[in-house]
Amino acid sequence: MVDEGTRKTLSNIQLLKTKAGPRDKELWVERLKEEYQSLIKYVQNNKEQDNDWFRLDSNKEGTRWFGKCWYIHDLLKYEFDVEFGIPVTYPSTAPEIALPELDGKTAKMYRGGKICLSDHFKPLWARNVPKFGIGHAMALGLGPWLAVEIPDLIAKGVITYKEKTG
């Protein structure tokens, strides 16, 4: 199960209604609208709670998503690129979020930089189709993964802090 913080975060993310994938044409548009609304709300909440931790953008059709995510450890901000595509079977299948930078640096990652989500994620997602959307995937998938893996990776020296310029 997810921790308390995540659960709280989750409750703040709007649930979706439309069950449609990228191939569903009209309905997908509908679904995409809901996704955006949900994400806006989520980001607003995060900002309000001083808990902003990612930036996302999508292609025109909303089938591919890319952006950045970051984690603050010991007063240092570690930033990573993030990307994922919407599967054809979405929303029954959860999107596979990937951090290409960290590919091969950790065991908790599939080939191509896709993160290994916890055992609980898939059943949870399955139970909440079509209510869960991208925001949920970020909050329940990537967020906890970062919180566990990054400090470990920093400690192992796999990741080092890069002074960000500009």
Binding site: L32, Y36, Q37, L39, I40, K47, D50, D57
Partner: protein, 752 residues
């Protein structure tokens, strides 16, 4: 395609949201840590709320306090404040001065914050109330507003007086405020009530009528029109209307002018309690005299004085009770008399209760009594009461003065001893008299006084003076005048008695002297008789001599002794009469006599029981010298005269004698005397023996006549059956016997 447009728009919105800045946010824990750190470092001054969840800066607290104060309408309790703000009371207290410092409108009163707006508000309220009630008391306000009186007084009332509160402060009682109209109303009430009152009324009852507090009344009283006066400024004062006072004064003046006096009771009845000062004020111009129950003008004492003068000159009396107004009590009269009676007048008058009696009047009454007093005095002396009284007086006097007078007494006694008897009596009297005087002069307080002899009784005097006094109609005076006269009359009576007694004593002394001489003569006569009788006895036979001597001692000699003893008894002021004493009693009596008499008289008394006349004679001589008497020398010529006298006496007796036996006895004695020229003293027993002795001098016939007569006498005296016939016979013979005695002549003389 519109949908896609919308998607685009949403995507744009999403980007915008993501690009917007994030709020910087610290967790609660961090905040607490930061703040504690700051507070520790004293970089920050914060106040914790009482629940510990919030912090306040002091400025915030001050602002909060001000805000709350404003919210609660300008007045708030600090405790309440701490509850509302949620800060500990200690913080409030420590910051309260900051609140006050910055703002002069706010004050702290009894743990409450009060600002000017509140004060203004309550001032407005108070003004309304004042307008309604007319007057307002600070103490009532303290109850209403629960604020200290001083604060209300100074901060609320006095500050706003004339601005917000329209009224006046009571000048006498700064805690009371009132409005002009109220004052005017009260004044009107007071004026109305006071002008309506016509008699003295307690202020309390006035106040209860007009419903005004006494303080207000007293403060307004002076400002109202003066219709009268107040007795005092106290709650129990009385209001006396001028009308009343005026009429009172008029009444008093009129009464005084008419009657020349005013009694205090009348003044008290009029309601003047302090009558003395009132009178002094009211009758200041008059010459007045304060008495016990009233005040009088000079007139009354003058009149009384005149009355008394008249009473003295007319020798009568004045009843002051009737001449003075009836209200005067005895003390008043006494006071007036003290004033009026000058000492010369006092000497001429006697004051009995309310009567002034002139001395002359009493004198007259007393002279009425004098007759009785004289009588009584005489009676007392005659009855011997006076003497007894003198003796008692002397006794008590000697008792009390024993120690003082012992020497004197001894001296006197010695003197007395030296002096002749007659003088002694006087001496005793004198000393007793002087003793009496001593008692009077020296020992006034000694109880002897009580024993003063009563010559006249109160009843006697009362009876005498009662009649004239009752005629005058002043029976009341009987008792006091009696009391007054009694001691005086008694004294006079005593004096009279003393005079009478002195007179009688003088008489007695004279008679005593006489009796002394008489006794001396008598004793001398008796002694010479005895001597002569002895001479006669010596003519007789020895046996008869002895009998006759015994008889003589028993009779005549005993008489002599008795006389002497009686005399001595009288000398000793004893009343013992020794006439019937036996020999033993005589001895006892003599033993009790003073030593100077005792020895010689003892011999005398003993000689009575002896058998010798000579012994008796010498003893008698001794006895008489002891009694300061002289035995006269034997005078032969006188003896003859005595014998002759004796004979004549005997003959006279004989001739007048009717007793048959005594005739013989006397005849025998006559014959004996004639025959022997000697006297004989013999009893009837000795008649026969004497007859036989006389036989030689008598004729045969005479002798037989006498013997037969003697026989009949013995027969008669034996009382047998023949007594009566013997008596007859004797009667026949009496004249014969008498003749024999009368005609008997001494044979020798015949012969001559």
């Amino acid at each position: 395609m519109a949908d896609w447009e919308e998607v685009k728009r949403l995507a744009a919105d999403f980007q915008k949201v993501q690009l917007s800045s994030t709020t910087q946010r610290l967790s609660e824990r961090n905040c607490i840590e930061i703040i504690t750190w700051l507070v520790d470092k004293k970089l920050l001054d914060l106040i914790f709320t009482s629940d510990g969840k919030e912090y306040l800066t002091p400025n915030k607290l001050v602002n909060e306090i001000r805000g709350e104060l404003y919210d609660s309408g300008g007045r708030i309790n600090l405790v309440e404040l701490s509850k509302v703000i949620g800060v500990d009371l200690a913080h409030i207290n420590s910051h309260i001065h900051e609140v006050l410092k910055g703002n002069k409108d706010i004050q702290l009163v009894l743990g409450q914050l009060i600002d000017t707006s509140y004060i203004m508000r309550i001032a407005g309220e108070i003004n309304e109330k004042l307008a309604q009630q007319g007057q307002i008391n600070v103490s009532d306000l303290t109850l209403q507003y629960d604020l200290p009186a001083e604060f209300l007084q100074q901060q609320v009332l006095e500050k706003n007086l004339g601005k917000l509160i329209f009224g006046q402060q009571d000048p006498n009682e700064p805690r009371i405020f009132f409005t002009e109209s109220f004052i005017a109303r009260s004044k009107a009430k007071i004026r109305g009530s006071l002008s309506g009152i016509t008699k003295p009324t307690p202020v309390a009852s006035i106040l209860s009528q007009i419903d005004i507090s006494d303080k207000l009344f007293f403060s307004l009283f002076d400002q109202t029109v003066m219709y009268g006066t107040l007795t005092s400024r106290m709650a129990g004062a009385q209001y006396i209307p001028n009308v009343y006072a005026r009429s009172q004064n008029e009444w008093v003046n009129n009464f005084y002018k008419q009657n020349s006096y005013i009694e205090f009771d009348a003044l008290t009845r009029l309601g003047i309690s302090d009558y003395k000062s009132y009178i002094k004020k009211q009758l200041a111009n008059d010459d007045i005299l304060f008495l016990n129950s009233c005040v009088v003008s000079k007139n009354i004492p003058d009149r009384i004085e005149a009355d008394i003068d008249e009473c003295i000159s007319s020798k009568s009396y004045v009843d002051l009770q009737s001449t003075l107004p009836s209200v005067f009590n005895t003390t008043d009269i006494q006071l007036i008399l003290d004033k009026v009676l000058t000492s010369p007048k006092q000497q001429q008058t006697i004051i009995i209760d309310s009567f002034v009696v002139s001395k002359a009047f009493v004198e007259k009454l007393s002279s009425d009594c004098m007759e009785l007093v004289k009588e009584k005095a005489n009676a007392t002396v005659e009855s011997g009461k006076y003497q007894q009284y003198q003796i008692e007086l002397q006794a008590s006097h000697t008792r009390t003065h024993k120690s003082d007078d012992v020497e004197e007494k001894v001296d006197k006694r010695e003197e007395r001893r030296k002096k002749p008897q007659a003088v002694k009596v006087e001496e005793v009297l004198k000393s007793s008299k002087s003793g009496n005087k001593n008692v009077d002069n020296d020992d006034i307080d000694v109880p002897e006084k009580k024993t003063v002899l009563k010559i006249v009784t109160a009843d006697d005097i009362r009876d005498i003076i009662g009649i004239p006094l009752e005629e005058e109609g002043i029976e009341d005076l009987i008792e006091p005048i009696t009391d007054y006269l009694l001691p005086k009359l008694n004294e006079q009576g005593l004096e009279l008695a003393a005079n009478i007694y002195a007179a009688t004593v003088a008489d007695k002394t004279a008679t005593r002297r006489q009796t002394h001489n008489e006794l001396q003569n008598k004793l001398n006569a008796l002694i010479s008789d005895v001597r002569l009788f002895e001479k006669g006895i010596k003519l007789l036979s020895a046996e008869l001599q002895l009998q006759l001597i015994k008889y003589l001692l028993k009779t005549l000699c005993t008489d002599i002794v008795t006389e002497i003893l009686n005399y001595l008894s009288a000398e000793q002021n004893s009343t013992v009469i020794t006439d019937n004493f036996t020999n033993d009693q005589r001895v006892k009596f003599v033993n009790d006599l003073p030593a100077e008499y005792k020895s010689s008289l003892l011999i005398l008394v003993k000689s009575l029981s002896g058998q010798s006349i000579d012994d008796f004679m010498s003893a008698a001589e001794g006895g008489l010298t002891a009694c300061s008497m002289i035995i006269k020398k034997i005078d032969k010529k006188k003896d003859r005269l005595i014998i002759l006298n004796h004979k004549h006496q005997l003959l006279e007796q004989l001739n007048t004698c009717e007793d048959l036996t005594l005739v013989l006895h006397l005849a025998t004695l006559v014959i004996f005397t004639t025959a022997t020229q000697c006297m004989i003293h013999a009893s009837g027993k000795h008649v026969s023996a004497l007859l036989s002795f006389l036989k030689q001098y008598l004729t045969e016939e005479q002798y037989s006549e006498l013997t037969s007569y003697h026989d009949f006498v013995t027969l008669m005296l034996s009382g047998g059956s023949e007594a009566e016939s013997a008596k007859e016979k004797l009667k026949e013979k009496v004249s014969t016997v008498k003749n024999i005695a009368n005609e008997f002549k001494k044979p020798g003389a015949e012969k001559l």
